[in-house]
């Protein structure tokens, strides 16, 4: 086998790893040849980043092999630590830039220049000869920075650079290290259009120079531009692989990637157990339970979400949809008071703006964070009680517990086990159960089905429907449009922190979805907005 592939190919075979009960990557085979760019796409929780960690060595694989082909010979890297693989020329870019903020761009780049131990020590002793080496390092750094077009920023503290520039500095670091294999984790996330172009151009250059590149990315336009082959992952497995266009055309892929699992949901809702979201009609007239006006949410000084407004009446459901980095979760955290926000937020005509998170919860706001943020050291029941404590306490603990029990019996069966021991799905049920414990008037859910088996999705749709039926207003951030369609009365489409589409769910058809998800993203100067 190995002989036929060109030297410098990175080969992963049968890679698998599980975190507790959750199998993040499950028997994946992947190859990255020199001068080849392999795109990897897939819904959240599909295991893309984990795969990348397995290849870079940041996470040791439970099973499977990683080999670097060297002509006729090969280097086995299965047990090699990240630093060893790095020395073999396997470089990796984290989702968020990892620079030393107090250092200049040049210093950060210089880190990439490999210096042999003794030489490094001579330099540490400050011997005159070391000046030459230092100068050489600096020159190499300058050149690399020149290539990424940042040479005149070489002296800046990297904290003063924009996110895009920081990303470029990281790429420059990889340039000086002259990596042969490059693992990129969403390198375009949160960059302005111009920044995206620069980065894309650079990646293309590297590829043409013979660097093998693994590109994990949501932005399909970039994938189309850069990738030679495409790997679509779902639930830790390779769903499809092959030339980019064919693979993208594959209807199954489209469905999965946009996450449209309508049929399954439909099936679930036809079951008698689940009442269709009828009450909505009556309560449509009702006053808005949650009213958000001109919301701006900040990370530090920058607004990650800008000018978002919506109403949700009792029993209504609003779905926030859009590509990664659109600021959906940010909106929820802003409403919950977990991030600094401006604009008006009213819960049942009470302004929440000035209140701290606990007080907002007290008043009937419930927030279900993205998966796995249960307090893992506490038991299931303790987690539920915690949420009951911090909620409205409208009902007695026992009652609330029963309500969760009838919705998610399997969670309550494990009430005395540690939350950490639950499976992904059960944790998500627990998360929603916690929201219920608070007897809230409005529930904010952040990706309740992220990384769940499709079979579980209907259960959550059902849960949301029941929730609304009790007159609770629901706001849900969701990639799975099937769930959105089934559980929401309205949809708010977002891109880059700005609303791009708002309307009743019926009108949110495939075309709109396609536009919202795959359409060209608007340019924005706020590149920092996806610090999240």
């Amino acid at each position: 086998m190995a002989e036929r592939r060109p030297a410098g190919t990175l080969v992963g075979r049968g890679l698998s790893v599980s975190f507790g009960p959750l199998t993040a990557v499950d028997g994946v085979d992947i190859e990255i040849g020199p001068g080849e760019c392999v795109g990897v796409i897939g819904p959240n929780g599909a295991g893309k980043s984990t795969l990348l960690n397995l290849l870079s060595g940041a996470v040791p694989a439970d099973r499977g092999s990683v080999r670097l082909l060297r002509g006729s010979t090969e280097v086995r890297l299965d047990r090699a630590a990240a630093r060893v693989r790095a020395r073999h020329g396997i470089a990796r870019l984290f989702q968020t830039a990892r620079l030393v903020p107090d250092w200049s761009a040049r210093e950060n780049v210089e880190l990439g220049v490999r210096t042999a131990g003794p030489a490094a020590w001579l330099e540490a002793l400050g011997l005159p000869t070391s000046k030459r080496r230092a100068a050489h390092r600096a020159r190499a750094a300058e050149e690399a920075l020149a290539r990424v077009g940042l040479v005149e920023r070489a002296g800046f503290r990297s904290a003063e650079l924009s996110l895009g520039q920081q990303r470029l500095v990281e790429l420059a670091r990889i340039l000086v290290a002259d990596a042969r294999i490059l693992l990129l984790d969403e390198p375009f996330a949160g960059l302005s259009r111009s920044a995206r172009e620069v980065v894309a151009g650079l990646v293309a250059q590297l590829r043409d120079e013979g660097v093998g590149i693994l590109l994990v990315e949501h932005d399909l336009s970039q994938i189309r531009k850069l990738a030679d082959r495409l790997v679509v992952m779902d639930h830790g497995r390779v769903l499809a692989a092959g030339p980019v266009e064919e693979t993208l055309a594959d209807p199954e892929v489209v469905k999965r990637y946009i996450g449209d699992v309508e049929l399954e949901i439909g099936g679930a809702l036809e079951e008698p157990a689940a009442p269709a979201p009828q009450p909505v009609a009556e309560q449509r007239s009702g006053p808005p339970m949650l009213q958000v006006r001109d919301l701006r949410v900040f990370y530090g000084p920058v607004a990650a979400v800008d000018g978002v407004s919506f109403d949700v009446a009792a029993g209504e459901g609003l779905g926030l949809v859009g590509p990664n980095g659109a600021g959906k979760s940010t909106i929820l955290r802003g409403v919950a008071g977990l991030l600094r926000a401006s604009g008006d937020v009213e819960l049942a005509e009470q302004p929440l703006g000035s209140l701290a998170t606990p007080d907002r919860y007290r008043r009937g706001l419930a927030f279900v964070p993205q998966t796995l943020t249960a307090v893992v050291d506490l038991t299931v029941e303790e987690n539920l009680r915690l949420s009951w404590l911090t909620g409205t306490r409208a009902d007695r603990f026992a009652e609330a517990l029963d309500r969760v029990g009838e919705l998610f019996p399997e969670v309550l069966d494990r009430r005395s086990e540690q939350a950490g021991a639950l499976s992904g799905g059960q944790r998500q049920m627990l998360a929603i159960g916690r929201a219920l414990m608070a007897s809230p008037r409005t529930v904010l859910l952040d990706e309740p089905t992220a990384g769940l088996a499709p079979g579980l999705v209907p259960i959550f749709a059902d849960a949301l429907a029941r929730l609304r039926a009790t007159g609770v207003a629901v706001v849900v951030v969701e990639h799975n449009l099937g769930l959105v369609r089934a559980a929401c009365t309205h949809v708010l489409g977002l891109q880059a922190g700005r609303p791009v589409w708002h309307g009743p769910t019926e009108r949110f058809d495939a075309a709109v979805a396609h536009e919202v998800f795959l359409g060209a993203q608007p340019d924005t100067t706020q590149e920092e907005q996806v610090h999240s």
Binding site: V100, A120, A124, S130, R137, V198, G201
Partner: protein, 327 residues
């Protein structure tokens, strides 16, 4: 290729290539010369010398805390190593041998302890080093054959330079040593070794991701802290005219810990400034009589809690204020 508009207005180059490495040693030597010219009273000179000695000792600790981000409460052991090595060897084998022996002894202990303990998490390592320090004191106390126990070793002489005698001679030697270690500190900071330490502290995964062995850099930092501590210990022994267990007890380790943090972790002036605060301040607070330690303790708490950057933070703020007002 298009470039991206700067997010911030152009500032001066902050990269170390622009730092003249020898300015600090130069300033230190000149400062030392000035002090000798002014010729302060014996008490003041002794306190100043003690400050310099502790600055020497704390330079490595500044590297440990500031670069590698490791907290040790056990570095009194290395002070003791240097101090006793001096006390035992200086008069018979000369100062260089004595200093060298102390440094080697300390380095060996640090390497062993580091390899065994540095995998521990922060608090665990801190307390483990505390135990190491206690153990060291017990050994020094009871190994009377070598250390003469609590009575200590007296008449240990002092390093004689430029035909000076007494404290002035120790002072000059201390200043020269401080200049030397300061030069090395700066050289280290800008060298791959030091940069590896810093990235390893700041972001271990990223460090490993670019081929840095974090474990190795941590041990190196610990050994370096031991080396300068040994040098400082030798100077302290000379100043005290002897080596005694109480001199290198936990309190001295705590002083070493407070020095870089109160002055600003990793700042190249931190050892001297911190030592001035930790050693000189209590001496000149004596007019407060019994309340001086109250004031000192409170000061440490407030700085730790509300001024995490230490003195350096203030200096920086002032500098930037000035810079802005100028341009």
């Amino acid at each position: 290729m298009t470039t991206i508009a700067p997010a911030a207005p152009a500032r001066r180059d902050v990269s170390p290539a622009r730092h003249w490495r020898w300015t600090q040693p130069g300033l230190l030597l000149t400062g030392g010369a000035l002090v000798l010219l002014i010729d302060p009273g014996p008490f003041d000179l002794r306190v100043i010398t003690l400050v310099v000695a502790y600055a020497v000792a704390a330079t490595g600790f500044n590297v440990l805390v500031g670069f590698a981000g490791i907290v040790s409460i056990g570095n009194s052991v290395f002070l003791a190593a240097g101090g006793y090595a001096w006390a035992l060897l200086a008069t018979s084998y000369g100062p260089l041998v004595a200093l060298l022996a102390g440094v080697v002894l300390a380095a060996v202990i640090a390497a062993l302890a580091g390899v065994l303990l540095l995998r521990l998490r922060a608090y665990y390592f801190a307390v483990a080093t505390l135990a190491l320090g206690t153990l060291g004191t017990v050994v020094v106390r009871n190994w009377t054959a070598v250390t003469n126990g609590d009575a200590g070793i007296t008449n240990v002489g002092y390093i004689k330079v430029f035909g000076l005698s007494g404290v002035p001679s120790i002072f000059v030697a201390a200043v020269v040593l401080l200049a030397l270690v300061s030069f090395l500190q700066e050289a280290l900071r800008t060298s791959p070794v030091g940069q590896a330490m810093i990235i390893g502290r700041y972001d271990p995964p990223a460090a490993e991701g670019i081929g840095v062995s974090v474990a190795y850099t941590r041990v190196v930092a610990f050994v370096l802290s031991a080396v300068t501590a040994a040098l400082g210990g030798a100077l302290i022994a000379q100043l005290a005219g002897g080596a005694f267990p109480d001199q290198f007890a936990t309190t001295s380790a705590i002083s070493l810990l407070v020095i870089p943090i109160i002055a600003g972790r990793g700042w190249r002036w931190a050892p001297l400034v911190g030592a001035a605060i930790v050693i000189a301040l209590p001496e000149y607070l004596r007019f407060l009589a019994e309340y001086r330690l109250v004031v000192y303790g409170a000061a440490v708490v407030l700085v730790a809690l509300f001024l995490p950057g230490g003195v350096h933070q203030v200096v920086r703020a002032v500098a930037e204020r000035l810079g802005r007002s100028r341009g």
